[in-house]
């Protein structure tokens, strides 16, 4: 059997499509420039911090990564809600939820890794059972499950609806997990890590670099998500085209 694939709808030919392509490229270039600038400022320009030394340089990427992860899950949950709402049901919200959650999982992984790199010299261990760390790890696994559910082959409508419910169920779980884990920790022996001993004052060039980190990582998120979204749209179009081609073929055989 030969599968004739109709060309994917290339919307870059239309006026709004061209604008979209340009906008995504501008965001990508800005994200790249922002990250390069953050690295330069973070590694060379900003001073060492009292009590933290060079470790403070992780500050410019770790909180922005965590912020992007939470932003991505927020967007995914909102898009899932819009998909489940009958009036706003459209496959673009399903794609948006999937694309956003994918980027969120990547940034959650990066948050965990950069947090562990920070933890080793600061606390003497890669992992502590801190509520925030533990909840982030559980969050990571929760959304890995969500992505696994999305990847299951099946009727796109069915998978999209289930994925939307799963995204909301997971989102509701996050505060309960955080609450229960922090309570669990507070009942155990007093924290062995002294967070209060050393204060970190973020000032001057450090504050600007941190702000730039937040902005450029957010731009990275937008850029990555736009591309994942486009890929999802093309995949959907490919599947639709493949289906209509197969139907045409059967008709031709019957005729």
């Amino acid at each position: 059997m030969t599968t004739v694939l109709a060309p994917a709808p290339v919307r870059s030919g239309t006026r709004s499509g061209r604008w979209r392509v340009v906008a995504v490229r501008v965001v990508g270039a800005a994200a790249l420039a922002g990250v390069v600038l953050t690295v330069w400022l973070g590694l060379w320009v900003t001073p060492q911090a009292v009590g933290f030394g060079n470790l403070v340089r992780l500050l410019y990427i770790h909180p922005p990564m965590a912020w992007v992860a939470f932003l991505a899950y927020g967007v995914a949950s909102l898009a899932s809600l819009l998909y489940l709402w009958p009036r706003t049901r459209h496959r673009r919200y399903d794609r948006l939820a999937g694309a956003s959650a994918e980027v969120g999982v990547v940034f959650t992984g990066l948050t965990l890794v950069s947090g562990s790199i920070w933890g080793r010299p600061t606390w003497g261990t890669y992992w502590v059972w801190d509520p925030l760390l533990t909840s982030t790890a559980i969050l990571f696994v929760l959304y890995l499950g969500y992505l696994a559910l999305r990847r299951v082959p099946g009727d796109p409508e069915v998978v999209a609806r289930r994925a939307a419910v799963a995204a909301l169920v997971a989102f509701v779980d996050v505060p309960i997990v955080y609450f229960s884990v922090s309570w669990w920790r507070s009942l155990h022996q007093p924290p062995t890590i002294d967070f209060t001993g050393r204060h970190l004052y973020v000032h001057g060039s450090m504050a600007w670099t941190l702000l730039l980190g937040f902005v450029s990582f957010t731009l990275c998120y937008v850029w990555l998500m736009a591309h994942r979204y486009r890929l999802a749209a093309l995949r959907d179009a490919e599947a639709d085209a493949g289906l209509s081609a197969a139907i045409e073929e059967r008709r031709a055989e019957a005729g």
Partner: protein, 222 residues
């Protein structure tokens, strides 16, 4: 809705009474898990007794995955799911009924495992009211989330591997809450378990409510 729930629950429990799959397979599996924990941690009761609550609930959690899979395997044979869908029963009732049946099976299992931790790990059973309360609330939460996710992964080709991945991280609060409540009860300070019981109850009510609302759309496209 409640009448439909009772019908579905009765049907599932009758199937279980006649097939005895949970009794002959899930309960022995859970007991084997308890024995394996004992082997992994060593025979020292000073180590095993303080860990009893956690090990008990991990064993319950693993068995809950099996019980939920069984609950939907029953529906997949002979296209029984279509029959259920066409029966005109309220989807919320079907959800609550299936959750109640799985919950009842898990409660029996927890009874067996309670004797198991007392015998194998030397846990001193006290604070019975807290132990039972934690079992009830945690089981309601586990069964609710389990049936919700069971419906979500039913009809998919990879349901056996997908369900545990979806279910286990989500019920972390149940594992924590139930373990801590049991810890307090077994340590002889059941009055300090109140907050954990409340957490379990909130989790159960929340997910039973979500399941009641979301089960209809999920069942339709199964």
């Amino acid at each position: 809705m409640l009448h439909d729930a009772a019908l579905v629950c009765g049907k599932d429990l009758r199937i279980e009474l006649r097939s005895r799959v949970a009794l002959n397979q899930v309960v022995p599996f859970a007991v084997a898990v308890l024995v394996l924990f004992g082997l992994a941690l060593g025979p020292d009761r000073a180590v095993l007794a303080p860990a009893a609550a956690g090990l008990f609930w991990v064993a319950v959690l693993l068995s809950a995955v099996l019980a939920v899979q069984r609950s939907f395997a029953v529906e997949s044979a002979d296209d029984a799911r279509d029959g259920l869908r066409l029966s005109g029963l309220d989807p919320a009732g079907i959800f609550l009924g299936k959750a109640a049946a799985v919950g009842a099976e898990l409660l029996v299992l927890e009874g067996v495992l309670t004797i198991g931790v007392a015998l194998l790990y030397g846990a001193r059973l006290q604070g019975g009211l807290v132990l039972a309360g934690a079992c009830l609330a945690a089981t309601a939460g586990l069964a609710g989330v389990g049936i919700l996710y069971g419906a979500m992964s039913t009809g998919l080709r990879v349901k056996e591997t997908l369900l545990p991945l979806l279910l286990v991280p989500l019920v972390t609060p149940v594992l924590l809450g139930a373990t801590k409540a049991w810890d307090e009860a077994l340590a002889g300070t059941p009055s300090r378990a109140g907050g954990w019981l409340l957490l379990l109850a909130v989790f159960a009510v929340l997910y039973l409510a979500i399941g009641t609302v979301a089960f209809g759309p999920l069942l339709e496209d199964a």
